[in-house]
Every structure is written in C-alpha cells, then in structure tokens.
Symmetry: C2
C-alpha cells in the first residue's frame, strides 16, 4: 500500500547555489517542477519555487545568486513519513511540495497535486 | 453545506491587460495569490500564475504586455459548480486554481489548497 513518502515521491530537480535566478527558472520550466532543491557542494542548502521567482521579478532583482532568494529552512520529509502527515505539513506551511531527505541526501519530492491525484479522485 | 464553488470561493486579484509582467508579479505577492485574473475593459481575457512569471523569467522576457504571457483559454467554474468536479478539473488540467465566473463577471477563485484545508484534513 502507498502510505509513506517513499511510495509516492518523484524526482526533484537540483541546482547549484552558484546559479542565476534565470537558470533556476529555466530548470523549473524544463523539468516541469514548481520546486527545485538548491545544493552547495552536493549538500541541500535550500529550496526555490516559482513563488520565489515571482518575488524576485516583483522586486526587480534577477542578477543575485540563489542564496539571496531561496528558502533556507527547508521543510522536508523522511522516506517513512506518513502521507497524512505530509498533507498536514503542506497545509500548515501553505506549501505545495517538499523534498524527501535521508541522511542529508535528497531522494525526491512529494507534492499536493500528486497526492490529490492518487487519493482524492478515488473517492 | 459547502458543496459548490460559491461556498468556498475567495477574492481573486485582477489586473488590466495593459500592465507589465513586473506589475503582475507585484500584485501576486502583495495579495498572496498565485493566480490573477487579467481584464481588458473590465472583461476577463485571461489568467496568469506564478508559473507564467517563471516562464517569462526563464526566457528572459519581462518587457512584454500580459497578453503575450497569459493563458487565454481560461478554465473557470460557475458559482454552482460542484466541488468534486472542481477538484477533477484542477487535476485534469494540472492547475492550482480557477476563477469563478457568472455572466462574464469574475466573482472570485477556488483553489486546491483551500479545498484541501477544508476537506482532506477533516478525515
Ligand atoms: C508559502 S509558499 C506559497 C505557495 C507556493 N505554491 C509554494 O509552495 O511555493 C511560497 C514560499 O514557500 C517556500 N517553500 C515552498 N516549499 C517549501 C519547502 N518544502 N520548505 C521550505 N520552504 C518552502 C518557497 O521557497 C516560497 O518562498
Ligand atoms: C499547467 S499549470 C502548472 C502548475 C501551476 N501551479 C499553475 O497552476 O500555474 C501552469 C499553467 O497553467 C495555466 N493556468 C493556471 N490556472 C489556469 C486556469 N484556471 N485556466 C487556464 N489556465 C490556467 C497558467 O497560466 C500556466 O501557464
């Protein structure tokens, strides 16, 4: 049965922190993912979503490095995290997705639309 | 009971089509809404989301008018549209929200996170 993060996760695009906002936006569009994991020397240091790109556009700042724009306090799930708890955390923090992390390694992402497709529409 | 779009809709920000991408992004951030309704002479002509802002950033085009960037074939709900049908349409088109429209007038929006907060977390 599909009860935990590892059962429903999908790949998450990753990008080096020393990249431009335009590169992050291009990666999101290319991989069709509203969230990307930001890495520094291979380690997870933050996440960025299309919301952060929108914020930087609103403020007219596009030439900065990602660590000025990304969210550093990452809300993530362990592979064994229960789906109901994932949903609650997505709602609590008003976010659409979170990376799945184990031993500091990014394994994938879980997102609310993926969960909705699998569960809500089966009622 | 809360069964239709009008029972759960919230305000949707609107913007004139003769506005810049930066103005659209600023409105989204200011109103904390990932979607805005684009109007021309008061009539709904399209929608824009933070995904469209991200696309324009990826392509390096920020100086164009909104009608080059927005989505013109709007997926909308009538006020009496059933919530289960809303969810199905959001999933089918892989979108997060849709405007609620009656007689050509934009009354609000319904979104998947709003629906999830009210229904999923009550199980
Ligand atoms: C409050 S959410 C608004 C909704 C939007 N759909 C989203 O998830 O981006 C936007 C902010 O949440 C942050 N965010 C999104 N997912 C996150 C996660 N898993 N951990 C930490 N912050 C996250 C983004 O970086 C962005 O600044
Ligand atoms: C396929 S969705 C990807 C997910 C994203 N969270 C979103 O809803 O924007 C992105 C595209 O769908 C379009 N879109 C979003 N809501 C829409 C709606 N209610 N009607 C028509 N197009 C819509 C946007 O303009 C954007 O180009």
């Amino acid at each position: 049965s599909e009860r935990t993060a590892k059962d429903i996760m999908v790949p998450i695009p990753t990008i080096d922190v020393n990249s431009s906002v335009q590169e992050a936006a291009s990666l999101m569009i290319e991989k069709n993912s509203g969230i990307v994991a930001v890495l520094s020397e291979g380690k997870l240091v933050g996440v960025m979503t299309d919301w952060d790109i929108t914020k930087s556009t609103a403020e007219g700042i596009q030439e900065v490095s990602l660590d000025k724009i990304m969210t550093k306090e990452v809300i993530s799930a362990s592979p064994d995290f229960a789906i109901l708890d994932i949903i609650r955390e997505l709602e609590q923090f008003q976010i659409s997705a979170m990376p799945v992390v184990k031993d500091g390694e990014v394994l994938g992402k879980v997102s609310s639309d993926l969960i909705a497709q699998r569960y809500i529409l089966n009622y």
